[in-house]
Amino acid sequence: MNSVVLSEQDISRAVTRITHEILEKNKGATSLVLVGIRTRGATLAKRIIKKINDIEGLEVDLGVLDVTLYRDDLSAGKQNPVIEKTSIPFALEGKHVVLIDDVLFTGRSIRAAIDALIDFGRPASIQLGVLIDRGHRELPIRPDYVGKNIPTSKANRVQVLMREDDGKDEVCIIDALTKDNS
């Protein structure tokens, strides 16, 4: 059974609030860069950048990370996933980097993303913003900006749909057990 937990409007409000929190905490947008984790994280990062531009009139740099090459579960008997392009076309030295992802779950892909970022340089700080925090962390990782906390069971799947990638804006929880039985 699928239950919708965030509608298009909810997502829009969450993105607006996260944008304001980022600007508040960093006292503006100078020396700020956003790095989105492919694919939905990059889309979210683009939206936040647009909102920052609306508020501050500043165009913040966007980086995009594919963290596959840094994952800790490669060659665990599974087919290696397709690698998408990573692009950090600016220097990270002295920048405050806000990593953006759609769902925070075990924390493993954020660990991979931090490792990847450090390979590009030494940022002044790395912060983390996510649309959904669903709990079940396996590493000591904590988000700085959260759209919505959603308690889930480990068997659930949280699906984030973005207009740019999927045709509509929606977050829903998919109950894996009911799905398998149907």
Binding site: L74, K78, Q79, N80, V82, I83, K85, T86, A116, F120
Partner: protein, 310 residues
């Protein structure tokens, strides 16, 4: 999607597999431009380069590719291996296999040597060039470079010029280019074009000047002096007069023609200095892309088998 155990040749690669390799290489290219040119993907994996024939480019390229993925790379060359003491190829391979490598990269003077090794060992084998047979990674990096420059491969006219008979690069390229829907024309002296090669779906010509006008890509081959027994050419100077790509020939070609050469180059014999250094020449881009293509192959080969989960 990608279930190959070995890369022994391009003959057995399907269009979808080649596209996967080229797409993956696209994404790996950026790693070589980073300040820290390394990702941890193949940490703890061991790659053995087993080279029974001289090589600068290919061996360095495989070694760099492995190291940029954090694999441990070991180089063994024929002259310093136990084959000098009389050990046969299979025993050498079995002994190396006993140390649990994850990939063996094999170059050998004899056609079929990598395939024979692959029948005895369990780890994936990449053919880095075997005799007159195939050199699949070279063909894949050629395709990658062409696709990058031209946007797509289907329908392009490619002209391959020179010592067709001795060239494994040509064979791998013909298979791969036909699979990708390109038109291949071979040009060279009649003594260097094997009888019956048109059965591979290529056209043949003996006149460089007459065929140059409709080529989108010109690939010059090295005159393999070490493999000549002397009776194929009356003289190198005559060969050079007829088949050396000079700016005079190039004037008759399309404005956006690309020039390739798998290296090493005999300057002034198959290609003139000014052409080699012209902006149409992608010879060094081929080398750069070779690292990305080999990284892609290592990543794909070590990616586990037959599972659709992401």
């Amino acid at each position: 999607m990608f279930n190959l155990k070995n890369i022994l040749g391009t003959k057995c690669l399907a269009e979808e597999e080649i596209t996967t390799i080229l797409d993956t290489a696209d994404s790996f290219k950026e790693i070589s431009t980073r300040p820290i040119k390394k990702v941890p993907t193949l940490r703890g994996k061991t790659i053995i380069n087993l080279f029974f024939e001289p090589s600068t480019r290919t061996r360095a390229s495989f070694e760099i590719a492995g190291k940029r993925l954090s694999a441990d790379v070991i180089n063994i060359s024929g002259s310093s291996s136990s084959t000098v003491k009389g050990e046969n190829l299979i025993d050498t391979a079995l002994n190396l296999e006993a140390m649990h490598p994850d990939i063996m990269v094999v170059r050998h003077t004899l056609s079929g040597a990598p395939e024979m090794i692959s029948q005895y060992v369990k780890c994936p084998i990449i053919n880095a060039g075997d005799g007159y047979h195939e050199h699949p990674t070279q063909a894949l990096l050629d395709l990658h470079t062409i696709r990058e420059a031209k946007g797509s491969l289907r329908g392009l006219n490619i002209m391959i010029v020179g010592d067709i008979a001795h060239s494994r690069v040509v064979r791998s390229n013909i298979y791969a280019m036909k699979t990708m829907g390109m038109n291949v024309k071979l040009i060279g002296p009649p003594t260097m074009i094997p009888l019956g090669i048109e059965k591979m779906g290529v056209s043949i010509g003996y006149d460089l000047e007459g065929a140059i006008h409709d080529a989108d890509v010109i690939m010059m081959l090295r005159l393999q002096k070490e493999r000549q027994s002397g009776y194929l050419l009356s003289s190198i100077r005559e060969y050079s007069n007829l088949y050396c790509l000079t700016s005079n020939f190039l004037e008759k070609a399309k404005d956006d023609v690309l020039i390739f050469h798998p290296g090493p180059v005999n300057r002034g014999i198959e290609i003139s200095l000014d052409v080699m250094e012209s902006e149409r020449s992608l010879i060094l881009t081929q080398v750069t892309n070779g690292v990305a293509v080999r990284m892609a192959l290592m990543y794909l080969l070590l990616g586990g088998k037959n599972d659709n989960s992401n």
